[in-house]
Amino acid sequence: MDRTPVIVGIGMSDYPKVPHMDGVQHHVLAARRAIEDAGIDKSEIDGYVGAGGGGGMMVDDAVTMAEYLRINHRYIDGTMTGGSSFEFHVQHLAAAIRDGACDTALVTYGSNQLSKMGRSLGTGGMHRGVQTVAGPMGYEAPYGNSLVGSYAMHAKRHMHEYGTTSEQLAEIAVGVREYASLNPNAIYQDLITVDDVVNSRMIADPLHMLDCCAITDGGGAFIMTTAERAKDLQQPPVYVLGAAGGQTHWNICQQTDFTTSAGALAGPIAFERAGVTHDDVDMLMFYDSFTITCLILLESLGFVPKGEGGPFVAEGNLKRGGKWPLNTDGGGLSSCHPGMRGIFLIIEAVRQLRGQAGVVQVPDCEVAIAAGSGGWLSCIGVAILGREHP
């Protein structure tokens, strides 16, 4: 019995703006599409994994969603590390499937962030007025920081230590937008230039509006099972070669090194488990909450030496046709970002590895990496996926 963990089904809900849909409906639509894509019977699913973080008419934590979807599982995981949750889920499920804790698991996410909250996520603030805030957040809440500000402090320090420029960061937004221009569902499809990015409104220095991700509605789902079960399913299996995760802090007030991430911990483990090198990787799916997020992931995961990300990006290496094409679906920067985008990193990587990515297909895509950043570059989850049996 070959229990090598594989992804056999993927599905996305509708996006970027779907006013009539609740967050839970995004979970459901994505789940239905993933089940159809895999061509399995729903009754086969004996594991459920979800991070919540969306919902609406009801909470969407793992136990509630398992009940609503009526999955009487024998394996559940509700790990919530923010946007990187789904890379951690791959790590956990790979072990669970190898171990026999479950055979076939469904992972879902859904949020109507844009329809429900507008574009307030980045600068609206979590604490709205005179109120007391418990725990570690109490050390931040009096100061009026924003989500954008937390990432901006990374960019500022990176620029200070390594001379990274706004123009270099802008190249990331420009490259991802080119891919979005080829995705008819992407929220922003007009091509942009470096000048457009650096001349867009400053939100939190040094991050401009076009350094920041979009806010959309959306949902995603994927199904993992064993290589054995995948043999007579309709889609070519995508193998989990290696997955790992790490955490350096949660709240931004506890970040101690603003130029790197826990990717420096998780990356080497994921690569060792996968038995591949960086040069074996054909495309990157990085959490692009902000341009700086991608740059720090690129460096901390070891694709380039620390501090050399800026010039490397400016050479066009992450663009369409470059050495490591980045976020071929148009990313969170320009396509789909309901708040916790990590599941779409997995879905797009699978699409590429199956050879089903259409006009944005990376030629001969054999190995892809999905790297999620949760919180404020706090929890980094890495999944290296491949189309060949390891």
């Binding site: 007025g129 109120q131 402090m153 500022k156």
Partner: protein, 144 residues
């Protein structure tokens, strides 16, 4: 070690920390113009924010009063913020300050021209009275 200015505030309109058994000493000291961190009696590790354990060795930490001085380690200028009490102060600097004693501390520099702030800038603490038992530390450039 040294007491810093505490500015009385007529009506506090921002979020407040919730005091608990561990952190109340920190916030009450701030109300009196003193910035505390913790130092571990077992291993010497210094930390902020205050906790019930030493983050390095898990022993029970002790309080250490700081000089209230440091340098800007990194910062941003908040130019868009939806909460009314902060919106009226835009733009303002939010910063991580590296204390002379070592740890990084999170805070802000309201009313300071962002163009005068840079990484490495020497800063000192002052406080605003948020309630009868809570002071909030803020930072401003050291006047030489």
């Amino acid at each position: 070690m040294s007491t810093h200015e505490v500015i009385e505030v007529e009506e506090w309109a921002k979020p407040l920390p919730q005091l608990d058994n561990v952190n109340e000493e920190y916030w009450k000291a701030a109300r009196q113009g003193r910035l505390l961190i913790q130092q571990c009696p077992a291993c010497g590790h210094r930390q902020w924010y205050p906790r019930a354990l030493c983050a390095s060795c898990a022993a029970e930490p002790a309080w250490l009063e700081t000089a209230g001085r440091g340098t800007v380690h990194t910062y941003t200028v908040i130019r868009q913020q939806g909460i009314p009490a902060f919106k009226v102060e835009l733009p303002y600097v939010v910063a991580m300050v590296e204390l002379e004693e070592g740890p990084l501390v999170f805070g802000s520099m309201p009313g300071i021209d962002p163009d005068t702030v840079s990484i490495g800038l020497p800063v000192e603490v002052y406080f605003r009275a948020a309630s009868d038992d809570t002071g909030v530390p803020y930072w401003r450039p050291v006047v030489s």
